[in-house]
């Protein structure tokens, strides 16, 4: 079982008290509710009615509630087992707009089911594709998932909207105070205060918005005017399909699947103090949960879903990642679909509160991405994979309209900074993998060579392979022990031939020298023997070497000895 990091108050397997679980579930819903803006955008763009928008939000609550709970499942074939809520996210907005304009809501929902089926198929093969998604690719995706939210968050933070194209002081002030309260409780708050920091900040934001007139009585009246209970109309618009829409929706599903991979990588990392590498089984099950969510969305009449990076940012910030919170958030969301009065509280969320909350969570996503990228040694190849992907990803937002002339079929590939960066990272990783040999050989001359040579060769090669820093360091140290032992093995003036083989799971060093194997002591030589190098140096080097390796053995042939040192990666 993974070791729970000390910064977590409630880890993934912990069971917080019921009241705490429910409150934390509500906190996640506040973040999820920001995405209810997307159904409104689609409906406005394709000319459907406000009632249709309300129905879409209702169905979004049902479908994402279902998939959020499903995602948290640990047992069975579906679900990553992590708190990783889903929302009707921006990944499907460009494709949905295309479909909505071509064939109305029915076509959006039909193609969303198709996207779900594609994602389900992809989830079954993704486990065998790990080499295409090393930490520099998944880390870049996680980083860009955070970056992608910035253009949505920043205008809201500064009070910019369709009627106010520039900075507006009052909403900005409300957003700033909301962010300060949230960040303040998160940094200096102890225990529960940190746990509920976003909730406290949002309540402060709501109160301030009401006091300053940003949240008007008219808007607040929506809570009073909404029905207390109403059965949602499921599948009201039906479904239709179009082969022309296949590419945009498959691309959206692929981009969403990679986002799932990035977000679930973060979930794995934040829940395991000893995290080393991506675990594909939970990724595959998590992707299948997203696929089920998308199929549910299409059948019920909601937009396509993807995992919510902001909510993972919230989990990191509050130190609460218990899967129970996922069940609670999912359950509450599904219930809200039946209680419009309660749902209205989220629907009327003031814009500055949205902006501040998003900015707060984005900080954690960006840091999570950087940490994943830096978990491996970085060389020039990886620098280009990460750097170019970020640069071209950002080009989408920094040069608006840059990709406007692209064929509509390919446009979803270039529909957001995230999609662009993801595609760049995957393609560049494949490209730069060319010419990387998994085996490297060199010679050591114990008469003249020192630790510097081993460091130089292995650090360079470790970076090229993208190996874990500590594993490379252990191999360097073990090789150095052989160099330390050389004078006592009568190897001065002779050569030691080293071959190093790497794959994602193993690092194997084979050292061949003219001479005999040596004993590996199981205990450290006594301190009283240390003054005599001849008596203690070989034994101490062999003992120290044995502490660095996971396994070692000797074989002899034609007067030569091969020392095999194995390191798990």
């Amino acid at each position: 079982m993974p070791r729970k990091p000390t910064n977590l108050i409630y880890g993934v397997d912990d069971e917080p008290p019921l009241a705490t679980t429910l409150l934390l579930g509500f906190q996640h819903i506040f973040i999820l509710s920001i995405a209810f803006i997307f159904p409104v955008v689609i409906v406005t763009e394709i000319g459907a009615s406000p009632e249709d928008a309300q129905n879409l939000i209702c169905m979004a609550m049902l479908a994402t509630g279902f998939s959020t709970a499903l995602q948290a499942l640990k047992k069975g074939p579906v679900g990553s087992g992590y708190l990783c809520p889903l929302l009707n996210g921006p990944a499907f907005v460009p494709a949905s707009l295309l479909a909505g304009k071509a064939g109305g809501l029915a076509l959006i929902f039909g193609m969303t089911v198709v996207a779900g089926i594609f994602e389900a198929l992809f989830s079954q093969v993704v486990g065998r594709m790990r080499k295409f998604f090393p930490p520099e690719v998944t880390g870049t995706v996680v980083l860009m998932v955070g970056v992608e939210v910035i253009p949505i968050a920043v205008p809201k933070f500064f009070g910019v909207d369709s009627t106010h194209p520039g900075f507006v002081a009052l909403p900005f002030l409300v957003a700033l105070i909301t962010l300060a309260v949230t960040a303040g409780f998160n940094v200096w708050g102890k225990g529960k205060m940190r746990l509920y920091s976003l909730l406290i900040g949002m309540v402060a934001g709501y109160v301030l918005s009401f006091a300053t007139g940003i949240l008007t009585l008219d808007k607040a009246r929506l809570i009073i005017d909404s029905a207390f209970f109403r059965l949602p109309e499921m599948g009201k618009f039906g479904m239709s399909f179009s082969t022309v829409m296949l590419v945009p929706f498959v691309v959206a599903a692929f981009s969403s699947a990679l986002k799932t991979m990035g977000d679930l990588t973060t979930c794995q990392k934040i829940n395991d103090a000893d995290w080393k590498r991506i675990e594909m089984r939970s990724i595959s099950r998590g992707m299948l949960a997203c696929a089920a969510g998308n199929i549910a969305s299409g059948l019920l009449g909601a937009l396509g879903q993807s995992v919510s990076s902001s909510n993972i940012g919230l989990s990191i910030a509050t130190g609460a990642t218990s899967r129970r919170i996922g069940y609670a958030a999912g359950g509450i969301l599904m219930l809200l679909a039946f209680f419009p009065k309660l749902a209205a509280i989220f629907v009327i969320m003031p814009t500055p509160v949205m902006g501040a909350s998003l900015i707060f969570t984005v900080c954690f996503m960006i840091m999570a991405g950087i940490q994943i990228i830096m978990s491996r040694m970085i060389d020039a190849r990886k620098t280009f994979v990460v750097g170019l992907s970020i640069i071209f990803g950002l080009s989408f937002d920094s040069v608006p309209g840059l990709y406007a002339g692209v064929d509509p079929v390919l446009r979803p590939l270039l529909s957001s900074s995230l999609a662009l960066a993801t595609i760049c990272a995957v393609v560049l990783n494949i490209f730069f993998r060319m010419g990387i040999s998994q085996k490297m050989e060199f010679e050591l001359d114990p008469s003249v060579d020192t630790s510097e040579k081993i460091f130089q060769i292995m650090e360079k090669q470790g970076g090229t392979w993208g190996a874990r820093r500590e594993v490379i360091f252990n191999a360097i140290a073990a090789m150095n022990e052989l160099l330390d032992a050389a004078p006592f093995l009568d190897l001065l003036g002779k050569k030691i031939a080293l071959s190093v083989h790497f794959d994602e799971f193993n690092l194997d060093v084979r050292a061949v020298y003219e001479g005999k194997p040596f004993d590996i002591p199981t205990t450290m030589p006594g301190i009283d023997t240390m003054h005599d190098a001849d008596a203690s140096a070989l034994a101490l080097a062999a003992f120290t070497m044995s502490r660095y390796v996971d396994k070692m053995n000797f074989s002899t042939k034609d007067g030569k000895t091969e020392l095999h040192m194995h390191f798990e990666h």
């Binding site: 630790s451 140290a477 330390d484 120290t544």
Partner: protein
Amino acid sequence: METLYHVMSKMEIIHSLIEDIPVLFVSGKIDAVTSKDLETALIGLIDQNKKFLVIDMEKVEFLSSSGLRVLMASLNKLKSRDGDLLLAALQPFVKDVFFMTGANRFFPIHASRAEAIKSLQA
């Protein structure tokens, strides 16, 4: 087969006397080659009848068993004269070497040079 030029290990030792306590500031990599310089420096101080020595290892990047052996031999010699060898400010990897091999049980290991000196004055 890669052809590479031979590179010498880099290590520096600076002698200092802080509040009448001999302190060695060691930096770089302590391996089979450089440990001989460390041995010379330590033997020199022990031969001057110094009983308590502090080594500031903040800038030590690597420590192989050759270096460890020199430290342990010096410690043994000092202990036989009722003295001690105090290690200070070890970087995580260097600290790991002591804990991994069990050599930590022989040495007083301090978080900082000031702490090591203070412990001798107590």
